[in-house]
Point group: C2
Chain length 225, copies 2
Amino acid sequence: MTEPREKQGSNTQRAVEQLRDLIFSGVLAGGSNHLETELAEMLGMSRTPVREAAVLLEAQGLLELQPRRGVRIQPVSVDDMREIYEVLTELESLAAANAAAAGYSDADLSGLDAAVTAMEESIEADDLETWAKADEMFHRELVRLGKNSRVVTIAAMMSDQVRRARQTTLHMRAMPSRSNEDHRAVLNAIRGGDAVEARRIHREHRERAKNEIIGLLEKYRILSL
Amino acid sequence: MTEPREKQGSNTQRAVEQLRDLIFSGVLAGGSNHLETELAEMLGMSRTPVREAAVLLEAQGLLELQPRRGVRIQPVSVDDMREIYEVLTELESLAAANAAAAGYSDADLSGLDAAVTAMEESIEADDLETWAKADEMFHRELVRLGKNSRVVTIAAMMSDQVRRARQTTLHMRAMPSRSNEDHRAVLNAIRGGDAVEARRIHREHRERAKNEIIGLLEKYRILSL
DNA sequence: GCACTCATTTGCGTATGCGTTAAAGTTCGC
DNA sequence: GCGAACTTTAACGCATACGCAAATGAGTGC
């Protein structure tokens, strides 16, 4: 349940990072199979650390080890998306409620505020890429403020599982004005110490986000990513 | 995010199972350190599969790999318990609501019913061990009925993290009559298709369970397990 | 007695090679 | 031509060994 060990420079750690990058970017496509030896060559190291990285990434739900068929990159179907968003909705809403109950000062909430502001600016500038980064920052900061390290870890895991799909669909979506109103409203509820309202708003926000991305996948007949 | 690979009889799989048993039973005590070589000897295999098992169990939050200090069994503090129960409460309540909305038949709910009945019987018989098993079965079946595989996996992980503590405190607690009334009420709400009620009852049930076990730890000055 | 330096020990991350076995390919019979 | 049986190939799980570096212990000087 820990983050990958902070083994600065170990080959396993490097393999984890590089494999993640390859998975999120789609270079290693959802559903594709790759032998351990192939990946070891790709990453320029022996099979042992690659295998160890794969075990870890399997536990994170990003891939599946299939003996004699190699490492299968876990595709994410529409149903997977539903599941993932369901978990995120529950746990982030909990975090929002906890954050509201925590009595944070304005300084404590500056990270959230900065993310919302960055999103507002990127919407004005029509810059979806920057918006996406700020969006991610908002959600990460939100769960951090909820002060449950397990929620932080699980939410990160779920976000990772859905990352490729979000990246792939980013430019298919409308400019997320409504989304950011929600973010601002959640932040205000937290600032005002209203746990019930923070939870409610965030839940509705996440439900909308789920429906939007699933709607895109269905519209464009994307069965899985 | 997958269950450990179903590699029947592989040393890694065996190591995972045996280490889990040792951890849950307290033989490998929370906070204790064990070298990979020591564990390899204990399990009668070479270090490679032991290390692979440890990587996996680290990802499940049961232990931590500390270079040169070995494998540290993750102790569970009162704060950890709070976190774990918070996650379980959210996700199981979601599962209860989903199960209620799913329109299950009586046959579909027979597993839940059997668990509740077994608990009632073991309460009559003053048999806490049997009650604990039935309790676990109830919770597992509940999340299964919620039909979100990720919730199933996360809930299992959280339950594992708290397993030693529950086992250790089992005989310190009162006979759980109220607990089982809750179980019966949740089942009835699910049977009646009332998602809001199922969620509410289960949430209160889990809150009570959390407060009870934490109360025990604090009463007996048990700082961590 | 304490702090510093150097030498030794040892634990781990990794590379390599071997044995097992599943999968792929080939051959033969109908 | 198709299916079954046999053979070959190769991927993986694992054991072993090696090199690196962190930790420990010993010795010396103040």
